[in-house]
Subunit: 616 residues, 2 copies
């Protein structure tokens, strides 16, 4: 059976050979990299780029172009060679691979205009592909999403999380291609060349699965054709390949993972072998298939409007988060929400009720939730994935890669700290601030009341790059009025006088412990300055230094978090240059079940402990 | 077909009813918790505890006892009720559930002697079960491992990572039981009661899968029997159940996740309904099946013997790590190693070559690697799971739970920081110190040379609780002699004089940048104190304060890590109480590909930057 394309098989064969040559040359020049994995996938990439996908090679970010995600990011030279073949890159520039002065990095990053999400941490590409495919539905585009996986990386559970969500969402515009070269880094893969076993897994997960010879271009094109014809479910093409295909030195041989061909006789021989694989090609002019470009209104920022709360109301920040998100979603259809089966705890269900078509349920699978958010963000959506803050740790490596990609993902974690109470330590996030602050480009916001939660949702949505919003389980009193404004990088001084003997910096639930301590100390004639550090990163260092100076360098932080990497460290780092230090009140041991009040007190972060510290 | 057990079906029926009653009473008393999920699994738990498992109810840690892991940790009251039924707990104590003064926490933790690993972060139990089953093989015990999963949690990719490894390891002593009650927290599960679809997935992954009615005790017993007869592969029993089974108020109904029955008429009615389910039971005395206890030699700590390196040798700490681990493994057969297909980069292959029977390949699946290590550690092994430090982030939530459990897991991460060079940011760990330090009970060790790497492997093995060893990619010179000793919580002052103008604290590769800066400054007549902070946590605060004092408070840290949560924060926190602050040199932005030397310099942590900072 033959598939109609604008490009002949001999032409594709020659393209694949050029991609191999370029990949081998670039890695040899760099002295590191992965030519063998480029060679196994070269026919697949030639076919998808030059016979299958519809895109504008001069405008790789075109909204309606088909998308390609190189999940096996170590095959980066092959991707770069494809874009050179497409005309976007100069072929000679490929030889700058992995150099500090080139954007052609060892693994692809969005410094390059044709890379949507950074890859190189395996098992992430299909999750991103789910998000990219969901975005097509959001914007009513007919673009298709292709993800090239290695067979080694399907050992990552995140791949199977993506498999579930893709089926649940009926993503028939999503097509995976697994380059089954049967070799991992350190040895054979678990399933090696048993393509039927692999196909059985995808079928058991509800996918349309095809097995082909990944070096037979007509089989590859036919598989893409079948994928396009398949409705209601995604397709996975399992392509049997040989690592190092086309080069006798490495074809199908072990010991060639991540190893360039040595310059000199080895490289000369390899290149000569590849050159000999060019075939006669009398093909007339051919062209890349163009996308179906649709005119759209430009997006603009929305607002959530007036606050829903009055001073003295009692509302959990997690609930205010969900309500605010639902309202912002009404004003801006780029806003989408993703859940991992806790929407009734994070209150993202409020968004779902208003905007079911932009709410994506991932069930209990945090990696695909964040990975899909990365894909959505890469295509112009403003995604808010949320779950218990503790369980965002499950997606820690995705968050790391979202930071590498500087994607517009707005993470929200509820149930922070011991203040959740009886559920115990497994449900308490006490290291999430450390995880998020560690990434230099993640903004970390931590509202203490309903009004600040609302405003920070709005700020988060339009702050460029990744943002984390930390929310709490208990209801807290609303302390801010309707006109109060909040900035990424700001703080609020809630109590101050000329006679303050100490600065106490809290955030979230500990703001209220600090305020209680303030009241208690007032009765003893002692004044303290109380700061609500609602923006933990970036941090208002100048304001904190002013507070430190005004209180003679006596600065206390109190946080519902472990000591390392949290608010204490953030404040300490901010005021160190001015010569000030911090005394940290934090949860210093693994906690346990109890009531919220008991636990705040037991673990040293209640008002009583603040009073004791200040008066010590 | 009937299965021979020492307990009759009517007796088991009544036990299941008692477990339901206890679970409902305890959660109503606590005012929170999950009675509905206890009720769905009560028949399964009654059968596994009182007809299937062989154990000593007075000695739950008996080495040869069958193991039970409650992966669906929110059914904790059911677990506690089973141990009360077994006689270990007092029935009345069950009513202290979730109280600060009780160890019966909201989710199980190893504070309780019958809990091997803390659960409550879903999708982890089967990974731990893999490790527990591997341990049986290590110690030549015939104990079997049972893991009770919820159907919601199989959306977690980690479950499928465990599925792969269990098949690869042919773990026929591992038996999973999925309580398919078809309801998640916020709505129906993705696959609901389609047991055939679920079974198809397990079969596609190579498991023996059975579908049964989870409220039919004879079907449950028969399934356990079949699991025991199945050789060469693990078994998954998929049990169709109803959430809230036995209580008309909640049976099979939505809205009952995590909701206790209200005390008063609701509770009275529920308990009366359950009481009415007791059946006539003329059973003679029955007993729990005993384990096959085998006599074993007590374990004792080994040593790696004399160092393999001389001052001036050049070796990467990752390579010294692998070599030392192999040698320690020869002296202590509790030492085991786990890999995620990078053994030739972390050099754990050196351990595999010496001890293949204690080396467990997980392919590219870091969650099961760490989860299996948790299981192994819980049963007396001393596991060293290792991969690129960046990819340990994939297992961040497992590491969090390992800390909650205070398990003896020795994590090792190689390829830390920008010093890996050309591979680029996806492969660089720049937030691993923040992740590990965040847990208050993880010791964080960071050798700079071959000798310290060897000694710290030994220290890590015998330090109680979780440990992280950070290793580097580049070769570094050996600077320590054969008699040098290293302690968890120690540091080395490498250069000092009476005229030092600053303290420079490095670790790993930056120790050598600090030493280069020292040499450069010497030529200018400037002396600095150089510290190798090989133990980042715990930290030798007293020694750092002495350094700070001796150098008039001028303390610089330099680290191949982002600024937040790393060495700068650790040192700052350690010397804050003495009034000293730190100036931090760290990687302050997302890095990129380049040579190691270029990147150290470009991102501000090379000798040149240290010199500039000290002389500023």
């Amino acid at each position: 059976m033959s598939v109609q394309t604008s490009v002949s098989l001999p032409t594709l064969t020659n393209i694949a050979t050029r991609l191999r040559i370029d990949s081998v040359r670039a890695t040899s020049e760099a002295g590191s990299g992965h030519p063998s994995t480029c060679c196994s996938a070269a026919d697949l990439v030639a076919a998808v780029f030059f016979a299958e996908m519809r895109y504008d090679p001069r405008d790789p970010q075109c909204v309606d172009s088909d998308r390609f995600v190189l999940s096996k990011g170590h095959a980066a030279p092959l991707l770069y060679a494809a874009w050179a073949e497409a005309g976007l890159l100069k072929r000679d520039d490929l030889l700058a691979l992995r150099r500090l002065d080139s954007d052609l990095e060892g693994h692809p990053t969005p410094r390059l205009p044709f890379v949507d999400v950074a890859t190189g941490s395996l098992g992430q590409g299909l999750c991103a592909g789910v998000g990219i495919a969901l975005n097509a539905r959001r914007i009513a585009s007919d673009y298709r999403t292709y993800v090239l996986l290695g067979d080694g990386e399907i050992a990552e559970g995140s791949v199977w999380e993506a498999a579930d969500v893709a089926v649940g969402q009926k993503l028939d515009a999503l097509c995976g291609i697994t380059d089954v070269n049967a070799m991992g880094q350190s040895g054979p893969t678990q399933w090696q060349h048993d393509l039927d076993a692999l196909a059985g897994r995808w079928r058991a997960f509800g996918w349309h699965a095809l097995t082909i010879d990944g070096h037979d271009l007509s089989q590859i094109l036919e598989a893409f054709h079948q994928a396009r014809q398949t409705k209601g479910r995604p397709t996975m093409i399992l392509a049997k390949t040989l690592k190092g295909k086309g080069i006798s030195l490495m074809e199908g041989k072990g010991g060639w993972h991540g190893k360039p061909v040595k310059k000199g006789p080895d490289l000369d021989k390899a290149l000569a072998e590849l050159e000999s694989q060019f075939v006669a090609d009398q093909d007339p002019a051919w062209s890349i298939r163009p996308p179906n470009v649709v005119a759209r209104q430009p997006a603009k920022a929305g607002t959530i409007g007036p606050t829903a709360y009055s001073i003295g109301d009692s509302v959990a920040t997690r609930e205010a988060y969900g309500a605010a998100l639902a309202r912002l979603g009404a004003a801006d259809d780029r806003i989408v929400a993703l859940d991992a089966d806790v929407k009734n705890s994070t209150f993202s269900e409020k968004f779902e009720q208003q905007h079911p078509e932009r709410f994506y349920q991932n069930f209990i699978a945090e990696q695909v939730m964040v990975g899909a958010a990365m894909g959505l963000a890469s295509r112009g959506a403003i995604p808010f994935p949320s779950t218990f803050a503790a369980f965002l740790a499950r997606a820690s490596d995705f968050i790391r890669m979202a930071a590498v990609s500087n994607l517009n993902v707005k993470l929200a974690g509820s149930h922070a700290g011991v203040s959740i109470g009886e559920d115990g330590p497994s449900q308490m996030a006490l290291e999430d601030l450390a995880m998020m602050r560690a990434q230099p480009n993640i903004a970390v916001l931590y509202p203490c009341d309903g009004v600040s939660a609302e405003r920070l949702v709005e700020r988060a949505a339009y702050h460029p790059g990744p943002v984390y919003i930390r929310a709490s389980r208990p209801k807290t009193p609303v302390i801010y009025g309707p006109d109060e404004s909040f900035e990424v990088g700001g703080l609020k001084v809630l109590r101050q006088s000329d006679t303050d003997v100490a600065t106490v910096v809290g955030a979230g639930v500990t703001v209220f412990e600090a305020l209680k301590a303030y009241e208690e100390l007032q009765t003893r004639g002692i004044a303290i300055r109380v700061v609500d550090l609602y923006s933990v990163q970036p941090i208002d260092a100048a304001a904190l230094v002013r507070c430190a100076k005004a209180t003679k360098g006596r600065v206390f932080t109190v946080e519902d978090h472990y000591p390392a990497g949290g608010i204490g460290d953030a404040v300490a780092s901010a005021i160190a240059a001015a010569g000030y230090t911090v005394r940290r009140l934090a949860v210093t041991e693994i906690p346990r079940s109890g009531t919220p009040e008991e636990l705040l007190d037991r673990f040293g972060i209640s008002a009583r402990h603040i009073v004791a510290a200040v008066t010590a």
